[in-house]
């Protein structure tokens, strides 16, 4: 019987440590160690990715420029459109998102879940 273990889930996305890329699989970049330099580089990457999302989300170039200008220039006529609650909400979720990604970057969701207290039920069972 086919049993999807963690290893097989990894394999399904990347293949084992492949010598040559196999169709449909992407060998991961060699794992960067979790030091401060790499964390700063990751934050820089996240920053630049956010700039690209402006174009992805904006319906046209006018509004994309408007957002970019608002982001990088302190416009005198800039209006506040978000409530404090919204700002706290977004800030909290963003920090949580980036930090959790950083902490788990060299692992997998199911692996983390299996290690959580009470998480044994996720990974337990006949193996």
């Amino acid at each position: 019987m086919f049993v999807a273990t963690e290893e097989q889930l990894v394999k399904a996305s990347f293949g084992p440590t492949l010598k040559k890329p196999v169709e449909g699989y992407f060998p991961p970049e060699k794992n960067h160690s979790k030091n401060l330099t790499n964390f700063i580089l990751a934050l820089a990457t996240f920053f630049l990715v956010n700039v690209t999302w402006v174009f992805f989300r904006s319906p046209d170039f006018n509004s994309a420029w408007k957002i970019l200008r608002s982001m990088f220039i302190n416009l005198p006529k800039g209006t506040a459109v978000l409530s404090y609650l919204d700002i706290y909400k977004v800030a909290l979720i963003t920090v949580g998102l980036v930090v959790s990604h950083w902490l788990m970057r060299n692992t997998m969701v199911l692996k983390v879940a299996g290690k959580m207290p009470g998480g044994f039920w996720v990974l337990s069972g006949p193996s």
């Binding site: 086919f2 449909g24 992407f26 630049l48 992805f56 800039g78 199911l110």
Partner: protein, 229 residues
């Protein structure tokens, strides 16, 4: 299939199942025949571990999509991107960060649901996201964000264009074309093309840095060998 790297599907029934396999039918992950068709050859029945893992991924995905993306983040993102007036710096950033989180939780949540639903039935689908916002650089980012799309673009666009085998300038050209068309894949609007161009440009800079570092490393090696003589 076209490059003879996979076998033809054995029966019309299996082929139809591959095309209509419901967990990934609506929005991916993009699954290739070699990843799924072999799993059709034997009868599937999830064991308790697969069922539990599947249900966990399904709940996690629903939480990401329904609570975080739709409930928490779509509101502020829509407000900021829907405003006509110039914005305060803080508000503009919060709107962009909200969208950044929204698009991740939406799509990764959906992918997690699809993988979980398939796992509940005893099928394994490829991972689609691997903590992308912890990426160090853009090569790393594209191996963590929408993995099944980037590997598809690599195999059916970048490599057929010549990949990195036709010299330095052609490699840069191929990278950019891949990212531009990857942008267009998301929708017929020039903003998506600019999004792709920006990513292509980032990849260029990263590649230039890497080439430079490799060259100086090779040069240092050479110097050292000379000194040793």
């Amino acid at each position: 299939m076209y490059r003879k790297e996979s076998q033809p599907v054995k029966s019309l029934l299996d082929f139809s199942l591959f095309v209509t396999f419901f967990p990934h039918l609506v929005a991916g992950p993009i699954v290739r025949p070699p990843q799924l068709v072999p799993q059709f050859l034997t009868p599937r029945k999830a064991n308790s571990q697969q069922l539990m893992q599947g249900l966990f991924l399904l709940s996690l995905g629903l939480f990401m999509k329904v609570f975080l993306a739709d409930g928490m983040l779509s509101g502020p993102a829509n407000t900021v991107f829907g405003t006509q007036d110039p914005l305060k710096t803080l508000d503009a950033w919060m709107g962009v960060l909200a969208f950044s989180g929204q698009i991740f939780f939406d799509f990764a949540g959906y992918s997690s649901c699809a993988i979980g639903a398939a796992l509940c039935l005893g099928f394994t689908l490829p991972q689609n996201f691997l903590f992308p916002y912890a990426a160090v650089g853009f090569t790393d980012f594209w191996r963590r964000w929408h993995i099944t799309l980037s590997s598809w673009l690599r195999d059916y666009l970048y490599i057929p264009l010549g990949g990195n085998r036709l010299g330095k300038y052609r490699t840069y050209f191929n990278l950019m074309v891949t990212m531009l068309l990857g942008g267009l894949w998301h929708g017929a609007n020039w903003t998506f093309v600019v999004w792709g161009a920006l990513h292509g440009f980032y990849l260029w800079i990263e590649k230039a840095f890497r080439d430079l570092r490799n060259r100086s490393k090779a040069y240092r090696c050479l110097l050292q060998r000379k000194n040793n003589w």
